[in-house]
């Protein structure tokens, strides 16, 4: 039985781990991975203390700082469910492992949103990707589609026009990203923009062979012969494990007070999985720290 269990190894969970260790709480960090969304960030220019740092390097620094403390770590073990027990909480992992703690910091972050169209799941990793900076260069000289209209989609399209033979940008709405990015894209000669087009289907046997899109105004359908589909349509919170304990907000986020409390005493949440405004590495880290300090007070009240 641990004093504190931290679920999630992104910036919120790792910062929480440092604070928990320094409060000498008997702590377990359990997470599917280390670094979370920072793993998809190449250059970071707004984390205080670093004018520029690459994502992997920042993760390494976080991890090194956490690992100098004697807290237990179970990495590569994704928690699928959190339950209330008499003495606190029990987390059950995908592999069936069970961990108990008196208090919990829930900091599982967000993941890319799926389109939910036919072909998407089966062709993921076979032309369908959610990490343009990772997999983009594999598609050099090929024709690809970027799905989405926000900043991440525009950035992916900007990266890909330099690499791919042709880029089709498909957005359900008019482009919603920053004007500066839209301006940059207007220079690209190998780009077609389809706004107010719905992506209906991703086609292909073993690998992506095309996408089917529909013009929402004219109702016409069009086939794009692409070999890669980059899906950049935002993020969804990894809040499924606490669905049974907490009423989530309309976006599936965990509502928290300004002290990171949830509606369940002893259960705190931090970072991108919560309804805290602004999803930033430094905000999440700060929330992780705050959550642990609150949890520490809660644990002290229990013993006195």
């Amino acid at each position: 039985m641990y004093d504190l269990m931290i679920i999630g190894g992104g910036s919120a969970g790792l910062c929480a781990s440092v604070y928990a260790a320094r409060k000498r709480l008997k702590t377990l960090l359990v997470s599917a991975d280390i670094g979370g969304q920072i793993n998809k960030t190449l250059g970071i220019e707004n984390y205080l203390g670093y004018q520029f740092i690459e994502g992997p390097e920042l993760i390494d620094k976080f991890q090194t700082q956490v690992s100098q403390y004697p807290i237990d770590q179970k990495i590569g073990n994704k928690v699928s469910r959190l339950e209330k027990i008499n003495t606190g909480f029990e987390a059950i992992s995908e592999t069936g492992d069970r961990y108990q703690a008196t208090a919990v910091i829930f900091a599982t972050g967000k993941r890319p949103r799926r389109l939910n169209v036919p072909g998407e799941v089966g062709l993921t990793g076979r032309g369908v990707t959610y990490c343009a900076i990772c997999d983009g260069p594999v598609f050099s000289g090929q024709r690809v589609a970027v799905v989405g209209g926000g900043n991440s989609a525009l950035e992916a399209a900007l990266d890909m026009v330099k690499i791919a033979e042709h880029v089709d940008l498909v957005s359900l709405t008019p482009l919603t990203g920053d004007a500066i990015l839209i301006d940059k894209l207007s220079d690209a000669k190998n780009l077609s923009i389809f706004t107010e087009h719905q992506t209906e289907k991703i086609e292909g046997q073993d690998f992506v062979e095309g996408v089917l899109i529909k013009d929402l105004k004219a109702g016409e359908k069009k086939q794009l012969d692409v070999t890669g589909v980059f899906i950049e349509i935002g993020l969804v919170p990894n809040s499924e494990p606490v669905k049974g304990l907490i009423k989530l907000n309309r976006w599936g986020e965990v509502p928290v007070s300004c002290a990171c409390e949830t509606t369940v005493p002893g259960l705190y949440a931090a970072g991108d999985v919560t309804d805290v405004p602004e999803k930033q590495i430094i905000v999440a880290a700060g929330e992780g720290a705050k959550a642990v300090l609150q949890a520490h007070r809660y644990l002290q009240r229990l013993v006195t």
């Binding site: 280390i34 670094g35 920072i38 793993n39 998809k40 960030t41 190449l42 690459e54 994502g55 992997p56 993760i59 390494d60 990495i75 590569g76 990793g125 076979r126 032309g127 990707t129 990490c131 900076i133 990772c134 997999d135 983009g136 260069p137 594999v138 598609f139 050099s140 000289g141 690499i163 073993d206 690998f207 890669g228």
Partner: protein, 78 residues
Amino acid sequence: MANKKVVIYSTPTCPYCKRAKDYLSRKGIPYTDINVAQDRDKAKEMIQKSGQMGVPVITVDNEIIVGFNQAMLDKLLA
């Protein structure tokens, strides 16, 4: 540790690839890095071997790992 042949198929911009390479370096494990962004034939080889197009792909002798999976990597290197 026996001398296992480690190859990583990567792209220069992929953060997971960088983490995997840093991890191997820190453990003192020699590896061959293949930049699939530059080498189209090797990109095809990676897709054939792993049945998918995401990077990194790491091979340890004849075993294949898709992605930077530290636990699996440790297991295959042990």
